[in-house]
């Protein structure tokens, strides 16, 4: 429920439903009966945040406790921000309408580097200082989790705590600890020192970073008994792990508005550009029985007519056919569509595809990622042109007329030939359509290719690689477009400047805090939105703080350099990543974990167990 004084402005902003709360399954408690008030903050719009599975999990998890109340907070769009600022209404929790500055924990999820300025903006809208050191009271404690905190250094000055790894267990432990320290009237410093002892908790202020003259990191020194290396938190058993049975059902149309159930964490593939594939190792699998029960419960409580079985590579799930065969009778009866994002072209049975389309036909998307076999070997995307074409031919035979292909440019060792290869592969898919004797009459084919730019990320084998500068990427994009000779292929591109900024923050260090704050003070926010991104303001902000952004992106790092995120431990060893980097440059592939364990080292965090190699898995 929004604050009363906001009522008269709600019809003056776009989509007031973003700000009202009151959705089905949203949780309202008596604030006097809880000890901890938790604001789950998503630093982007309602529509994006409400699509995020992590938020749904943690929202339900905190609200399952009697002593805590979790509310949702999203970044208000600029029209609403103006209303809030003009009328001195502080940022509030959607469930209570109360100002979040009075809450105990503000938990941000950091999924995307270009939402960093939104965090500052939301803290400021809440009425809080943006720097952790200026928030001296014990509460609110401002914390962050999500993929970006694998290198929290650029935002380390703003957060009190970050939580690398899985959030399900550590969130409860942190709430317990804060409750205890709040009750005994402890100081923030005392609480932070104690929190740093919990596995999977990083307290940036307890680490002192020194730099070499060449601006690389010289040393990172912990204090107050904080660990040398912060090990990410790992949930060992996905079947017993907390998982929600209710989702808040938005009124507004959001990006993903459906039942989403995770089927496994981690990935067996080892694509060398893919951060998620390495951050989430070792592989942990949820049993088909648990998956099905969770799907049913969520559909019942929400009324959703679509289920997404989600993972990094869904067709790699052992037992997928059995799971879907079990689910089809009740989903067809209830007119529920099953969506399988992240399918691979090489291992998805045609029959299953046909069964899945019994209710509604979804789009068809492949991600070859690179245009030639040589480059696909470099990035370890072990999929062949033949596999793409065979699957496309099957799809066309099944009546599809549109196919989406995802590619990346700016990959290590890339040449013009590789870029031509993208256009050639798209053309080959078009040709496949016309080879089909039963193709639908009067209908053409549309192959749309989406071209992203590689942003080398921490904890991947490409973490040492230089990133192409924006002008180089623009040249490559233009070259690709000149190679496309047919109107049946449409090309969509990413904004190279966006990838550049993403790259700076992805592999940045603590000195970037000043740049982020300067840019935000000059009006930068929603940097991931093309209509809001202000490259000239960012350039100014780098300059004013004496920072060369290309130091973070354009430089090849030496293997022996101390990387700003080296004191984080995500399980996968640096030695393994180095070896993968060497193999990439030689064009050598690494087999999937299913064929042969590559010895990445991540099972160390899971009691030596990786569900992929465990014999007991059926």
């Amino acid at each position: 429920m929004y604050p009363k004084e906001l009522e008269r402005f709600l019809l003056k902003v776009q989509k007031p439903g973003r700000y009202t709360g009151g959705e089905l399954n949203s949780v309202v408690k008596d604030k006097n009966s809880v000890d901890i008030r938790y604001a789950f903050c998503f630093p982007d719009t309602y529509e994006i945040g409400m699509s995020h599975l992590g938020m749904k999990i943690l929202y339900s998890l905190v609200n399952a406790r009697e002593d805590a109340w979790c509310e949702r907070v999203f970044a208000p769009w600029t029209d609403m921000e103006d209303v809030l600022r003009e009328n001195n209404i502080p940022l509030y929790g959607l469930e209570s309408g109360d100002a979040i500055k009075d809450f105990d924990i503000l938990g941000f999820t950091m999924q995307y580097e270009l939402s960093y300025t939104n965090v500052l903006n939301m803290l400021d809208l809440a009425g809080l200082p943006v720097r952790a050191k200026d928030r001296t009271a014990l509460t609110p404690i401002v914390i962050a989790g999500g993929a970006c905190v694998c290198n929290a250094e650029p935002i380390a000055e703003f957060f009190d705590i970050t939580l690398p790894g899985d959030g399900e267990e550590v969130t409860n432990e942190l709430i317990d600890l804060l409750k205890e320290y709040k009750a005994k009237g402890a100081t923030k410093q005392e609480f932070l020192a104690a929190a740093a002892q919990i596995k999977g908790v990083y307290v940036p202020s307890l680490y002192n970073v020194e730099y070499n003259e060449d601006n690389t990191v010289k040393s990172v020194t912990p204090s107050c008994g904080a660990p040398e290396k912060v090990e990410k938190r790992n949930v060992a058993d996905l079947d017993s792990m907390f998982s929600p049975t209710e989702f808040v059902v938005p009124f507004l149309e959001v990006v993903h508005d459906r039942t989403t159930v995770e089927i496994f964490r981690g990935c067996i593939r080892g694509c060398r550009f893919c951060q998620a594939g390495f951050l989430n190792r070792p592989l942990r699998r949820k049993s088909p029985e648990t998956v099905e029960a969770q799907c049913k419960a969520i559909c019942d409580s929400t009324g959703y007519d679509e289920i997404s079985l989600c993972s990094l590579s869904t067709s790699d799930y052992k037992g997928l056919e059995k799971l879907i065969t079990n689910m089809l009778p009740w989903t067809i009866e209830q007119k529920i569509n099953i969506a399988l994002p992240s399918l691979r072209a090489d291992n998805f049975p045609k029959e299953l595809m046909e069964q899945l389309n019994a209710v509604r036909r979804s789009g068809l998307t492949f991600a070859p990622e690179a245009g030639t076999q040589r480059l696909r070997d470099v990035i370890n995307k072990n999929i062949t042109e033949e596999e793409v074409l065979t699957t496309a031919a099957q799809a066309f035979a099944g009546g599809w007329t549109a196919v989406k292909l995802y590619f990346m440019i700016g990959l290590p060792t890339e040449t013009q030939e590789d870029i031509e290869g993208i256009a050639n592969l798209a053309q080959a898919v078009v040709d496949e359509f016309y080879k089909n004797p039963d193709k639908p009459k009067g209908k053409g084919v549309n192959v749309s290719i989406s071209v992203a730019s590689l942003v080398p990320k921490p904890f991947t084998p490409f973490q040492w690689e230089p990133q192409d500068k924006p002008d180089v990427l623009i040249d490559k994009q233009n070259y690709l477009i000149s190679c496309v000779k047919t109107r049946k292929v449409t090309v969509s591109r990413h904004v190279p400047w966006t990838s550049f900024l993403e790259g700076v923050f992805a592999r940045g260090d603590r000195r970037l805090a000043d740049v982020i704050e300067t840019a935000w003070r000059k009006g930068c926010k929603f940097d991931g939105w093309a209509e809001c991104l202000k490259p000239e303001v960012w350039e100014e902000s780098f300059k004013e703080n004496g920072i060369d952004p290309y130091f973070y992106t354009a430089r090849r790092r030496e293997y022996d350099e101390i990387l700003p995120w080296d004191h984080m431990d995500y399980g996968v060893t640096k030695k393994f990543l180095m070896n993968e980097n060497v193999k990439a440059h030689k064009g050598e592939t690494t087999a999937s974990c299913r064929e042969k364990c590559a010895g990445c080292g991540a099972n160390r965090l899971n009691g030596g167990v990786c569900d992929e190699t465990r014999k007991t898995v059926v």
Binding site: L10, G21, F251, T302, G303, Y304, D305
Partner: protein
């Protein structure tokens, strides 16, 4: 397959749900309630569900009709009970019945409107002035339709208009043309009247109380 007319109330937080969002919201509610909906038989089957008179964003409705079709047997009482147990805040099923009239028989709608002014003087002035304008029979406004913008004399679409004031509040009870052919949004009438007094910014509350037929009998 049996046609069923649901009558719902929409107020409180639910006034901020747009018509498009209402569609999705009600489809899901009917699914949660496990009502045996009839699905269309096309390539992409979807439940048959028609809102007879979309309610503009920001307005409340006391008794709004929604037509669905069901398969098999379920009593109206059961449908109402099940739906109300799964409805989000601000939406309530007030009645479930057999459709008596055809949707195109809706010809008018009755509204109750509250307006808050700074003081009693302004409220009184507006009350008297608005009445004079409606009595004069001329209030031109630009009306957007699918064919573009055109100027319309709103008074021709006002079937009944009562206005009074008490302290800083003005209370209007009015019947306006409604339906597929001619329709007047109560907000357009109100803002057109308010702009004559340069008072566009005042707080207001608009409630549609019921739908009527051509002879102003109740649409059922």
């Amino acid at each position: 397959m049996k046609p069923v007319r649901l009558w719902f109330k929409k107020d409180g937080l639910a006034v901020y749900i747009s018509h498009l969002d209402m569609n999705r919201c009600m489809t899901r509610a009917v699914r949660r309630a496990d009502i045996p909906l009839w699905y269309t038989e096309g390539f992409n089957p979807h439940p048959y569900m028609t809102f007879l008179m979309p309610l503009p964003l920001g307005q409340a409705g006391l008794k709004e009709p929604l037509d669905i079709r069901i398969e098999g047997e379920m009593t109206f009482g059961e449908i109402k009970k099940r739906l109300n147990s799964v409805m989000p805040e601000g939406i309530e099923i007030v009645d479930v019945a057999k459709p008596e009239h055809k949707p195109n028989e809706i010809a008018a709608a009755e509204y109750e409107i509250d307006v808050w002014f700074e003081n009693a003087g302004e409220a009184e002035g507006f009350s008297a002035g608005a009445k004079a304008i409606i009595d004069s029979g001329v209030l031109n406004a630009e009306k957007r339709s699918k064919k573009g913008i055109k100027t319309v004399n709103l008074c021709e679409l006002v079937k009944k208009f009562e206005i009074s004031s008490s302290e800083n509040r003005v209370f209007i009870k009015t019947i306006l043309a409604a339906g597929n052919t001619v329709n007047l949004n109560a907000e357009l009438l109100l803002s057109s009247l308010l702009s004559e007094f340069s008072a566009e910014d005042v707080d207001r509350n608009i409630v549609r109380t019921r739908l009527l037929r051509e002879d102003l009998s109740i649409f059922e």
